[in-house]
Each structure stands twice: as C-alpha cells, then as structure tokens.
Symmetry: D3
C-alpha cells in the first residue's frame, strides 16, 4: 500500500496559512485511496432551538489547523498508519429535511463504498440517522455509544419525524441498532416527563449521567462501556453539548452540569478495544462560540475518533 500522504508541514507553512482542510490533511481528490475520511454535513434545519450548526464543519476545520500528527495518549500517528483525508462537505438541501436525509444517506454510502470509514462533522444531530442507515446496510445492526446531554429518542416535534431530537428513536424503530449495546453518556437536565426515560429504556438504551461520570470516574465508566459494547460494530455519536456550556458554549441546546473536555477525551481514549465503524461530532454552532472554545474541543474529539479508527486500521491491515 502506498505511504499515506500526511498533513501540510507546519515548519514550512505556518498553521494559519493555506486551506483549512481538517488537520491540514489532503483533500480526498488528492489521494488515490482514503482509509478514513473526515467529512462535513453543514445542515441544521432539524434544530429546535439555537440554530447555526450549518457553520459547524467550517469552524471545526479552522480549529483543526492547530492539530499535530502524533497522538501521545494512543502512542499513534494516525495519519501515518492510515490514509486520512478531508472528504469535504456533503451539500444538502436546507429547506427539506427529508431530502437532506436522503442525500446524506446516498452520499455517505458512496463515500464508504471503497471501505472508507467516516467521521462526520455536523450539522445538527439529524445527520446521525442517515449515517446509521448507511452503516446498517454495510454492517447490520449497530451498537451505539451516544455522548450527549439529551436522549435524542423523542418522537416528533410539530409532526416532524426527522429532527435533531429524534434520530435514535427513528433508528431504533427502523431496526438499525443493536438493542443489546446502546448507551447514552453525559445525560442531564430536565426532560418532558418520566416517560421519556421509560421509552428510552424500552429501546434498549443504558444511561450514564454526567453526574455518574463525576462520581465514578472516567476509567470505571469506560470499562463499563467496553463491557456493554464488546466487539460489536459500534457507532460513536458525540453531540458537543455533552460538554458543559463552559466547554462548549457554541451549541444549540446547552444544559448546565456537563462533562469537561478532559473527561470526554479520556473516555474516548478508554475505547481503543471497540470495533468502531463510524462516528460523528455534531451540534457545533459557531455563532455562539467564543475564541474557538467549542470548535477546538470538537476538533480534538474528531482527532480522537480518527485515532480510534486508525488504530483499528493498523491492526486490521
């Protein structure tokens, strides 16, 4: 296999110069194959409160300029063991959620066709549904680790089935998920009613609250997650609002009492044994960000997800 083309060399081109591909990686059209692609889905028409996640991909790419190629936590140079690329944005219709969901499904399926693993940068959480559809066609029922302040298993808003609060209910209803291996992490804040929790449990979800992470510590939680998921194909979906608003002001439905970015990153680093088949980082709304606090956190989360995929790629190749 050809040696992967890495990011622009920061000792020759300052990190603030040149195009803002994610981590200054090559574009997908500059390489002959892509083992892992970071793609953007600039779509936020499924948002119920503060909109703006349509600018998320571009903000995460800008923040990703600072990333360097070696991950000391994983002792890994992800861009050396796999060809990682910036796969660009999927252009979707902002005026029709249904149309958007179909486009995302179709285009991500095409991207995955040659075996490329995707880390998707949203956009709002609606985008997880078409990604799960794509993945389900390739892998069958998928385990799900869902980092979020919210359950996202609500039913409909104003009669609309596809929104950023409903992707995992739809996914469960459509049989896309492996009901033995589903877990929310970081949940907190008020709900509509006790029924929200009951229905969520009926779909098979476990819940690790943000307070649980504080009380039990990241290592114990990570171990429990590994146990629950085992070696199933798993999708990791990270709503950036799993972080406290202090760590992620730039998001649409902030809830106090969240995780720190250190906890989130260390949790992810505890998941090296998982068989990750795809991942997303969603709900970065730059209009509410300040000094790239949120976008930087998101860029690091993407980096760790890419790292997990690269680890797998290394051991499988």
């Amino acid at each position: 296999m050809s040696t992967p083309i890495g990011p622009t060399d920061s000792t020759q081109v300052p990190r603030f110069a040149g195009p803002a591909t994610y981590a200054r990686l090559p574009r997908i059209d500059q390489v002959d194959r892509a083992d892992i692609a970071v793609i953007g889905v600039p779509f936020d028409s499924g948002v119920s409160y503060r909109p703006g996640a349509r600018f998320g991909p571009s903000a995460v790419r800008e923040a990703g300029r600072l990333l360097r190629p070696y991950h000391p936590g994983l002792d890994l140079s992800p861009f050396s063991v796999a060809q990682v690329v910036d796969g660009g944005d999927i252009a979707v219709n902002p005026f029709s959620i249904g149309d958007a969901v179909e486009t995302i499904d179709r285009e991500t399926s095409a991207l995955m066709e040659p075996g490329t693993r995707l880390v998707t940068v949203g956009g709002d959480h609606t985008v997880a549904l078409p990604l799960l559809r794509s993945l389900h066609r390739r892998h069958g029922p998928i385990a799900l680790l869902h980092f979020d302040a919210h359950l996202d298993t609500w039913d409909t808003y104003f009669g609309e089935p596809y929104t950023h609060g409903t992707p995992f209910r739809r996914a469960a209803e459509e049989g896309l998920l492996d009901t033995e291996a589903l877990c929310h992490v970081g949940v907190r804040g008020p709900l509509y009613g006790k029924r929200d929790l009951e229905e969520d449990r009926r779909f098979g979800f476990g819940v690790v609250t943000a307070a649980d992470v504080m009380r039990r510590g990241v290592d114990e939680i990570a171990a429990a997650l590994r146990d629950r998921i085992g070696d199933r194909p798993v999708y990791v979906s990270v709503d950036i609002d799993v972080l406290d608003p202090a760590y992620a002001p730039g998001t649409g439905t902030p809830e106090a009492g969240g995780l720190s970015s250190r906890e989130l990153l260390e949790l992810l680093r505890g998941l090296t044994s998982l068989r990750l088949v795809g991942a997303d980082v969603v709900e970065v709304a730059p209009a509410y960000d300040h000094a790239q606090i949120t976008a930087t956190a998101a860029a690091h989360v993407v980096y760790d997800l890419v790292g997990l995929l690269a680890l797998q790629h290394r051991s499988s190749s």
Copy 2:
C-alpha cells in the same frame, strides 16, 4: 372610544424591570381593542445563510424597553392617539415552511379582523408573503415599499418556492401587488446575473440603490417614493440588512455599503402621507448582534412604523 392604555410608567418601574413587551405596551389580552398591534413571527427556516432570526422578536422587544411614548420627529404620541399593543408571537412550525406560511396567513388574518393594523417583527423575510396574502384579501392589490439590500424576487432555492429570498416574486405571481407602485430601497451588492434585475423590473419594481440614497439625499428619495405610491394602500417591508453591517451586524446576509440608521429613519419620516396598511421589520438575527446595535435600530424602525399607522389612525378617527 376608550382612552388608550399606554406603556408602563418608567418613572415608577425602571425600564429594565417587568416583562419585555414591545415598548412596554400592554399585551393584547389586557385591552378591549387594538388599533395597532406589534406582533412577532419567530421563524427562520427560510434563511439561506446565517440563521437565527427566530430570536428576532424577543431581541427587538428587549431593545424596545428604552423607547419613550412621544415621537418628536412626527410630533406625535402614538400610544395616546391609538391603542397600540404587543400582540405576542405567532407560533409556527419550524420544520415546515409551507405549514408556517399557512399559519401566519391564518393568524394574522384573525388579528386584523377587528380592523387592527399589524407591524410584524420577523423572523426571516419569508413571513412577508403570508402577510401580503392576508392584506390582499382585505385591501386588494397592495403597493410595496421594500427596504432591503436584496431584491427578494429570486425564484427558488433547491426547488423551494418559499424562502427569504423569494417572497416578492411569489407575491407578484399571485397578483397580490399593485404593479404600478413597487419599489426597492437600499439595494446593493452582487447579484446572480443581470437577469435578476430584468425580471425584477418586469414585476414592476423600481430600484433605489443604497448609493442613490447617499447621492440624492433622503428628502429627494422620500419625495420620489411618495410620488410613486400616491394614496394606494401600501405595505412597508424593512429587511434590517438594508442598513450597513456597521448598523446591523445581527442579520443573516450582510452586504457592505448600506444605509445608516439615520437615513432609514428619516426616509420613513418622509412617508407620513402614505396610506400604510401594514408593515414588517425582518431578519434581525441576535446571535450576530452586539450590544443590541441591530435590535435597537429595529426597535426604532418599528416605532416609526407604528407612528405612521398612528398618524393615519388619528386622522381617520
């Protein structure tokens, strides 16, 4: 007729205290009639770029706390000569533009039923279409003065006919407008092509550019607008992006080279002879505002529009 109930007395209740109804006016349910109502339509699903105008009504109301009851430019106490109220928000479906347009039409029609004149605070410019539909049913073809950086007579985006760039094309196609008396004011910035202007002209629109306002001065422009409109029933639609981004950063599709807030207010004050039947101020996107610059400008524009309606009400009663 009963004496109008005015705003909260600021010498008794500080302007930063109490509910933020527009200009601290009574709610519509606190009075027995409403001659003029300021209403909000928190809807921005028709936006093509920076979203967030859904928070416009609430921002304009907050900024309106500072308004006082006497308009020296018009030598008028608008809240004394007419019962002016805050008519609250129209709750619309954020996930379906079509549904939203219908709701706005139905609810504003009901509000106008007893003869109430509306000044609508958007929300994005999509909301002008259902308002024109409502007004057309009461008044027949309507003259239109449209203050905006953009023409808003584009056709469709992604196949969607109802967006914030298309309301006046739809209105023209539906025969809602009086084609003898249509004018854009403040237009500037690049277009898709020369055809944009040609088609716009075919619908009957005149164009006063932002540069024209600088070169010819507000008094000459106002005179020309009065001439063009005459005594037809006229709707005044103000997209806050008619102002330069310096005066209105908090909006979705900013264009350099715009009007100052002083020019816009003085233009409106030159329109006292018009037979205004309704008005809107749209596209205030608070996430991009700073220190209420935009919301304050919008609150003042609403105040002048209310003033024009109150003048008419006084002379007609």
Copy 3:
C-alpha cells in the same frame, strides 16, 4: 386543590416563541394560587465592581425557555406537584439602596402572605437581606446555606451598610439568622485580612471552600451540610460567582478556582431533606455573559431550587 397550570407546551409553541416567563410558566396573575413563585429583583446598586445584575432576571428567564417539566435527578415534575408561577419583577428604586431594601421587604412579604414560597432571581446580593427580614417575620431565625466565592459578611463600603458584600453581616446583627446553622460553600480568593474570617466565624458561619468541594466530593459535603442544618427552616442563597468564571463569566466579582456547575447542581440535589423556606440566585450580570453560559447555569440552579420546594410542597400537602 386545582390541578396546577403548567408551562407552555413546547411541541405546540416553539421554545423560542412566546413571552419569556421563567420556564414558560404562567404569570402569577393567570392562576388562582401560587405555591411557588420565581420572582425577579432587577437591582444592582449595591455592587462594588462590575455592575449589570439589574438585567439578571430577564436573562435568566430567557435562558429558562429551554427547561423542560420533569427533573430526572429528583424524579419529580415540579410544576405538576405544585403550582409554580413566574411572579414577575419587583420594581425598585435604582437610586436609593435603602428605599430598594424596604420595597423588596414589603413586596416579598406580600407575595409570601398566602403561603407562597419564593425563589428570587437577582439582582445583586443586597437583595438577600430584605428577603431574610421577610422570612424571619414568618419563620423566626433562619438557617442559611450560602453558595458564594465570597463571605458577604463585610461591614461597610464608603460608609454604606447595605451592599452586595454585607447582607449576611447585617442579617446576623439583626438576629435574623439561626447562628447554629450557617454555612458558606465555595469560598475562595483573597480577603482583606484574617479578621474577615475571624469575624465571619464569630457570626457562626462554617466555611466549605471551593477546594474542599474538589477534595472531599459533593456527596460528603452535602451530607455535612444536611447535618449542620438539620430540620431548621433554611434559606439557600446562591451567588452565581460560586461557579468558576469559566462557568459563570457573567457576574460582577469573578474569582478563579470555583465550582463547576455540575458540582453546584449535585450539591443542591443532596439537600432534599432540608426544610427550605426560600432561596435566591443572584449576581448574574448578562453584559459579561457569553452565549448564555451564566444565565443557563442560573436557570438550572433556579430549577433545582424550585424542585426542592416542590418536593417539600408535595410531602406537606
């Protein structure tokens, strides 16, 4: 008893629409009784550094739009077990602290008259004194849990006895407090001198520092607080600057090294056994906030305080 009227239904009216009462609850004039009222006291003339808490109530109400009606941590729907309302703002004189303190005392006493419990949103910490006076008349000496970076038992500034740094000294001097059951939580940062601590201790206060919370954990601290307070009538006063500036930039006298919002909320959730008679959340200064980080934290703290009061209401009714 009549079934409580709950908040506006978010599946029918988007959370960004309609008036910003706290948590979209009914106004006090819309119900026939109020078991618990959230009120605002927009007053900041007692501030010694960055002013602006006069806009706190309005910011907390805006941030409260996102709250939902079920509290999973307490397994409670607070708005179902008690009639909770938005009691509006108390209009006070911004130019006379003495006058303001009297007005707050008089008006909150009137509000409490029918047995309504109050959660007061400041405004600066000065407002706690008249609230303690009101409560003392109803309940006698009051235990106090005071979450704050500061002791607030200083004496006078520039000869002024009533300021945001002095309410609890005044309260102690006036005999309003139960000197067996007083505790500051979250204290940190430099003081004027060792005497500050000595005098504070002499008034009967215990001190749990912000570092203690980190070292001992929220559960141990909550247990100690429950022990100290027992079943005395207790007032919980939360200066939002108990949070680190990362979690609460929008405040007047920020001190590094503070609590996280998760710690604060979990501490409050450890106090379900207390006999809470009133509470406040003060010192939210929105001009220094960003993306509602502070206001969201404060809205959640209010929600938990309402939750504690609702729990009590349920068990007592």
Copy 4:
C-alpha cells in the same frame, strides 16, 4: 515657562507597553504645573439603564495609547504648546450620588485652582453637574454646548434629583448656565412627551437634531453654534451616545439614528474660536463596547477637546 513634558516616545517604548495614562502623557505628579489635565470620574450610579460607565476612564485611557502628538486638523501639537497631563481618577462613593456629586465638585475645584483646565472622562452624565458648579464659581454663568442623543433636562427619577438624565435641569435651576447660549446637538429618539421639549426650551436651550446635522452639514451647524456662543466662557459636554450605536455601542442608553464619529470630530474642529473653560466626555460603558470602537471614538473626542484648550492656551500665553 518650562518646556512641557510630552508623552512617552513610541519609537522607544511600544504603544502597548507601559502605563495607560491618557495618550501616554505624564501623570500630574510628574510635572511641576499642568495647563490642561485629563481626569477620570469612574462613577455610574446615576445611570437609568445599562450601567458600566464606571469603567469608562480606564477604557478611554487604554484606547488613548494609540494617539500621536500632532493634530493635523488643527495644525497643532497640543502637548508642546501646553503642559497636558493625566490627572488620574477622582475616587467617589458609588453608593451615594449626593456624596459623589460633592466630592467631584470639591476635587475638581482643587484641580482647577492653579488655572488648570480639565477635560473629564466619565462616568455617567451626572458628573457634569458638579463640574458646572466648580466652573461657575470661577467663571460665573457658563455657556453650554451639549452633544447628546438626549436632552438631559428631565426632572427626577424615583424622586432622585441627581441622575444622568437631569444634570442640565439642575444646572439651569441653580443659575449655573448662561441662558443665552445653550444648545443641544445630536438629539434624537422618542421623549416622554412634548412637554420635555417645551421645558427644555424654557431653560434656554436650542436643539440641533442628529437629522439636522445630516441635512445641513457640519460646517453650517458649527457656524451656527459659534454664533450662538460667541465669546462667552463655554463648557462642552459630550455624551458619547450622541454617536450612533454603530459608532458607540459601548454606552448605556443607545438611540438609533445618531451622528458619525467623523461628524462629531469635524463639528468640534469648527469650534476653535470658542472660549472653552472645560469639557467632558461621558457615558462610555466598556462592557458593551467591542474592539474599542467606542473607547477609540471617545479618546479622539478627548484629544480634540484638549486640542481646543491647547489652542486657547497658546494664544493666551
């Protein structure tokens, strides 16, 4: 007379280094005499809406780091023809307006004692009253040029006679003003009632609105002001909210439709013939400023006022 000591040399010490005295001028204690002193009065307890002007002096000094020593518009090096200094802040009681007003009167009188002319940086507009008292004792009745969006001749708020909306009514009542030579410039926005204008006129004030400045141009307005004032001793009071919120977002009671900073500066440059005895620039509220837009404008206005005083000093010495 000794050669004036000028500002720090920016070719030796970068302008971002060293203490932020105004324009990097010497402190008053570093020179043996002061012909002109720029002083701060960090006081905002007279504010009726957005507070924070207490931080105005420090913000204007920071913005003043960029100023250079030669004024091309006046062809003058103000710091060479007169000893100009930073006179520091007057420390006033934030909790008692009456006390503050007395302190300002006393301290500014002492500063003026050796013949020093003052340019005062507020703080809120309340500070103009004690300055006029001081000046009246030295000069008798004073002409007044008042640049402001507001009249500031209101009577009382909540019974308080001394606030930022009332200094010129008090001054008129106390006989401090030369009633033949009073003018507001830049007035706009709604008032409480027609009576506001009538009473203002009765005190002797002329009114030049913000719209007048646009219609008639700065040269014609400046000529009219020179005519009105003649060679009377005159005080120039500049409320920074005379500028449009685009040019001065950092202020407490913004009104749309204001002057540009270019207009204001050119108006001042048209006043070289006046016999200026003192001046202020007030209502800079940095918490609402962005990127020093407002503070920079204010620093330039102070510079022009110092320039006018230096011109006079040169011709009189």
Copy 5:
C-alpha cells in the same frame, strides 16, 4: 480562449457548504490559466499595535462565501469575462520580516509571470512593498492610490525599516513609485508631527482626508483621483482601517472619523478608467472583528478590485 470556470453554483451547493475559496471560485490548480488571482498573504509581523492580520485571508475568504457573480454597479460579471481564481496563500516566515518580504516578492513575481493580475489580501501593510517591487519590475514606476487612515510613509520603528507603517517610504526611496501620481485617501487622526506631512509631500503624495470625502462627496473625489492618475499603471492599496472603526472594528490601528463602506465602494466604482496593475486589501484582524463586519467589507472591496481588473481584461482581450 476557454470559457472561464466560475464559482460554485449556490442553488446546488449552499453557500455555507464546501471549501471557502474566495467567492467560491476555483483554486488556481483547477484551471488552465488565471487572468486574475486573489491571493492571501497571512503575515502580520510588521504590525505595531493590535496584531492578528495573519488570519485576514482566511476571514475574507469565509466572508466571500456570500458574494454573487454579477456586479450591478459595474454591469459586469467579472468571473465570466476573465478567469478569476483563488490563488491560495503565500506561506511566509512569521519570525523574519526580511525573509518574508523576499518570499512575497519572489512568489508574487512567479504568479504574475503568465500575465496574471493579483489582488492580495493581507496580512499587514508590510506586504505592499514586495508587491510594488514585483510590479515595478514588470511595469516600471507605478502610480499609487492608497486608501488608509495613515500615511504609511514613516521611517523606522525600533530601527526596523520594513513594517506596516513604512512600506510607501521604502517604495519611494527605492524608486518604485511614479511620483507624479501618488495619493492617500481617507487619512485622519493624529500624527507624530508636522514633519510627517512635509516628508510625505516631498515623496510626491497628495492627501485626501476622510473629512474631505464627507465635504466634497465621492464623485468629486473620484474625478480628482482619475485626473491625478490618468492612464499610468496604478496600484490600489486599501488598508481596511480607511473605514471608520464602526465599519471595520477588526483591524490593528483603528482611528475614529473614517469613511463608510459605501463611500469606499463608490470611490472604487469611480475608478473604472484607471489602468490597474495590482491591488491589495490589508490589515483585516479577525480577532477584533464582530459578526464579520470587517471581513464582509473587505470581501466586497476585493470584489470591486477584481471587477476593475476584469473590466480592463475585457477591454484588452
């Protein structure tokens, strides 16, 4: 000649999606020739006050997403009559001004080699010097229209000859400029001394102040500029601080009293007869920008400069 490849179609790909090349134009490597290239020079080590213009190119490109392909003011589709491209960034050494100046000279010379005209986005004003060197080698002495608050003909700071305050003195000394045809426009604010003006005049510069633009109007000024320049090869250098801080907060050395963006754009539109050989827009410092006010103005200025070059290209081809 092949038909130019235009920007991404905004009706198919939302303007917030896809890579942020300037105006969504093709990259230089995607076309077979480039008539006009917009390039970035992310360099700000020559800055004397607020740094950050290194992020200018990326901010202007982001703001350029909103531009459309037809310029109504010039009745021109610039991207149809010439192949316009995004030429990417020139990577320069941030730690050595001398090295950077050489790199810019070398790389821009190479870019111009095939006859490509450049519009350079800074970066700080230092970058104008190497551009003038490149152009001088191709065209001989160059006329210069310089829009700026400052003269930029200062000598050295701290002994450094190449800084953002000195490029045009260096250019004059090196004989790069046509001394018959040099003009600053928009100058204002204090200088170091009268000598600054005298020396500047000696280099041959005319000065149009910001106040002149207000007094004489853009059309008269543009005519005078056309007269002065005639048909000489001319370079137009736009320091964004020629705009008032209201219109361009995001810059390093703001001066009150500047131009509006409308004035600047209309001035440029008055220069269609000039023989433009190159242009720059510099000193956009995004860390001080808000809601893209500055970047939007800069993106429009670049668009007009591209328009002028495209006009020339059309008439010459």
Copy 6:
C-alpha cells in the same frame, strides 16, 4: 526594615478607580526597596499561531484590581511580609526577537540586582529564556516546574531558534537548567511525533499530563513535584494554556482537555516548601478573552506565585 507600602485601600478608592498597577500595588518608583516585583513583558513576536499576548500585562493588571491583600489558603498577607511592587513593563523591540531577548535579559538582571524576586507577566513564552539566563547567572542551574499544555522544547520554526515553542530546549542546551529537577505539568494534545517526547525526556524533563492531574488528584501530584524539586532553586513557568480553553480562552494555542483553574491554584498552594527564585505567567492573549476569564485566572496565578515568594521572604528575613 521599613514597613511595606501596601495596595490602595479599596474602602476609600473603589477598585475600579485609579491606575491599574497589579493588585493596586505601589509602583517600583514609589518605594525605597522591592522584595518582590511583578513586571510585564509585552512581547509576542515569538508566537506561532494566535498572536496578541503583547496585551497580556495590561489585561492581567486590569483583572488584578479585584485582588485583596490576604491569602487565606496560605494564611498570609503577602504585601505585608514583603514589599511587593508593580515593576512596570520592560519595553522591547517587537520587530526583532533576538534584540528583545537581550533586552529582557539585561533589564531583568538589573531589576534583580538588589535582590528583588520577579514574577513576570508575558508576553509569549519566549520571555522565559532570557529570564532563565538572568537567574542562572545569579543561582547557577535552575530547577524548572513548567505548567503548560505543550512541551516547549521544540527546536526551531522556519529556522528561528527563539520562539514561544522553544525556550526550554534553548535553556537546556545552554546549561541553564538543573537536569535532575525538571517537570512539565498539564501536558496534552497532539505532538509532531514520538521524537518530541523522547528528546524532551533526554533533556531531563518529567511529564505530568493533564489527565494525570485528574486521575491522581492535585495533592498527590504536588507531593511528587516537591519530591522531584527538593530544595533546589526553582523557576515556575506557567503558560496559561495549561488551563482548559474553558478557563483560558484568551490564549494563542489552545488545547482541549486541560486543567481547571482550581487545580492549578491548588497545585501551586502545594509548593510552599519550594525555594522559588522566579516565576512567570505567559500567553494571555486578551483579544481572545471574554469577560476577563483568562486574565482573572492569570491574575490569581500571579497572586499565588507572589504568595510563595512572600512566604520564602518571611522565613528568610
């Protein structure tokens, strides 16, 4: 020894009034000796990404206005046991790193001459090198505790040996450091390669990651640091980016997953036994700060470092 002159009395002069010396301490020229001086080095030309730390000293001084004179954590009034002063800024050449490094070395040596201990506020991390040179001349090889997200032992960027990423490599190469007693604390984020860690280790550095601090707790880490350092003369260098971007948005190269301000302050409080000979707090970039979050944290860190030096001073005098 004369009694130290303390800070301005905040009960007489409000903390927002008067010059912003650090903690309102006397200037160095106002006292006859200085045991400890806080100095500023406004220099950021060694920055590789977001610049602006040149404004750090002024921001930290402004934030330091809120500090009070007694440190309860150390039970110490640092300004009473030692004469602590604000030593002003060292004016350095922004256009030559080499020149700047020499100036800092020379000027800090002069300041230390009478035995004064320095706490330096940067500026970027480049400034640590000349400080270590100064200290090495007085104390020989220095132990180093380095709080930072980064190693800062990189070699060169663009051939430049002195940058903010390289000071400790240079220091090691020059033999300034005691290779037995070097430790980074708070390290995290991606590196260029595994070699970065290997080279760093070869210089003698230990590494405590940010995750280690979370897992092991501050007390255990502090104990390990005390062990490692023993009674060697030690320099403590705090890059504010050791804090998470939530706690320190105002910095140049933010990395997610950092320390909280409480952890950092408690770590420092665990170092009372160390023989501190100097310290710095660097990389505060105010243009990216919000509401003084970062500057407040830095001001507190400086306060604790002063406290450590004062403790030593007390025991040694």
